[in-house]
Amino acid sequence: MDIEKIKKINEMSKSLRTHHFAIDSQDATSDAQKIFDDIIPEKTTETGTPMPSPSTHSPSESQPINIPLIEKKFQILLDQNVKSFKDDLRNLQDTVEFLQQELSKMHQRVSKLQQPVKIVQQDPVKEEQVTQVVQEQPVEHEKEETTSHPRSGNLTSSDVSIEKFFYYGNSK
């Protein structure tokens, strides 16, 4: 280890302590040394050519290319994408079906609403008849309501004479 390097490590350890990255001087020195070993080789040499460092290189650079692993990774990602695409498509289908149903319901409602209007436009005499019928219908209902009684039925008081139930003659 040359003197310049030691100086740099000392400076770095001081900085680490001032920035509270190390608890004590021993930690600071060891951390500084690690950082120095990791980072400095990355820097270019005096000649300007990059200095290789095994610790800073990516795995793809230091290890041979693993084609089966890359293929498998690609396959998994492809499967995942296909799956999510299918899910999206299914959701879209469901939404379209729901919207179709809603649309048909709305069509039905609209056609129902349009039916009386058509009658009015086609024949005004019929409309009167319809309205009359409509007016007559509640009266019938009222009549029915007055005549029929859920508890006593359609019977009048004369139908059920008290004499039919009680005997007023002499006892034998």
């Binding site: 770095m12 990255f21 693993n66 089966p68 692993l69 990774k73 998994i76 990602l77 799956k83």
Partner: protein, 239 residues
């Protein structure tokens, strides 16, 4: 230069802190994410380093729970070859040799593949042995496996081996053995792969004698024996 280095250190520390906080957040969500499944989790919003760490955490948890299939997926996506080897060993331990081979292939574990292939060969698991040696491109061991298959009368596996090796001589020898064993379909396959027209004609004649017109037709077609093809078509078409 010193300041530059310090800035770099500060940046790295900040990144590490950020990643750690993200990881701790992620760990609290881990049970839910595990239940959701690796296929349903979207990690595209994270940078590569964080994503790899998260996938490793997920894979580790799957491995701990014995969900090896999901663990393999996680470690493949994380590119963690060491863990894939560990899973391969687990598969080997529980007797799922096919899965173990796949893991070793992914982890590029040549030594383990070689050992497993030899073990499979001894145990008579020819399919797995062939897979191991094919993956290693080990022609010597493949030839040994082929010979062992021949010795034990495992014609299909022997055909597979010699097809991989491209050994016409062995394929012809194998075809003869199959013919002797009345395995006519296998014999046809072997002679066809060996591209041996004489043997194919011989096979066609045998089949014709025995009234097996479909194989005879195949054999004559492969050997391009137009005369015999016409003879079958003219005389035995209705049959």
């Amino acid at each position: 230069m010193h300041e530059e280095t310090m800035n770099q250190v500060l940046n790295n520390v900040q990144k590490i802190n950020q990643t750690n906080s993200e990881l701790s957040q992620f760990k609290s969500l881990l049970p839910t994410l595990l239940e959701k499944g690796i296929d349903q989790i979207d990690l595209s919003m994270f940078d590569d380093i964080t994503k790899t760490q998260l996938l490793n955490v997920l894979g580790g948890e799957y491995l701990r729970r014995g969900r090896l299939h999901e663990a393999v997926k996680s470690f493949v996506l994380a590119g963690n070859q060491q863990k894939l080897t560990v899973i391969g060993q687990d598969y080997e331990r529980i007797g799922q040799v096919e899965n173990a081979i796949e893991c070793y292939e992914l982890a590029q574990e040549s030594n383990r593949l070689n050992l497993l292939g030899r073990k499979c060969l001894i145990d008579g698991r020819f399919r797995d042995a062939i897979k191991c040696f094919t993956s290693l491109n080990d022609h010597e061991m493949l030839a040994k496996t082929g010979d062992e298959c021949l010795r034990r009368g495992k014609w299909e596996y022997a055909i597979e081996v010699y097809k991989t090796l491209g050994d016409s001589e062995k394929l012809t020898q194998l075809g003869d053995l199959c013919l002797g064993d009345r395995k006519l379909a296998e014999a046809f396959q072997a002679f066809e792969l060996a591209n041996n027209t004489n043997k194919l004609n011989e096979l066609g004649n045998v089949c014709l004698k025995e009234g097996l017109f479909s194989i005879a037709l195949k054999a004559y077609t492969a050997s391009d024996n137009k005369a015999m093809l016409k003879f079958i078509q003219e005389n035995f078409r209705k049959k």
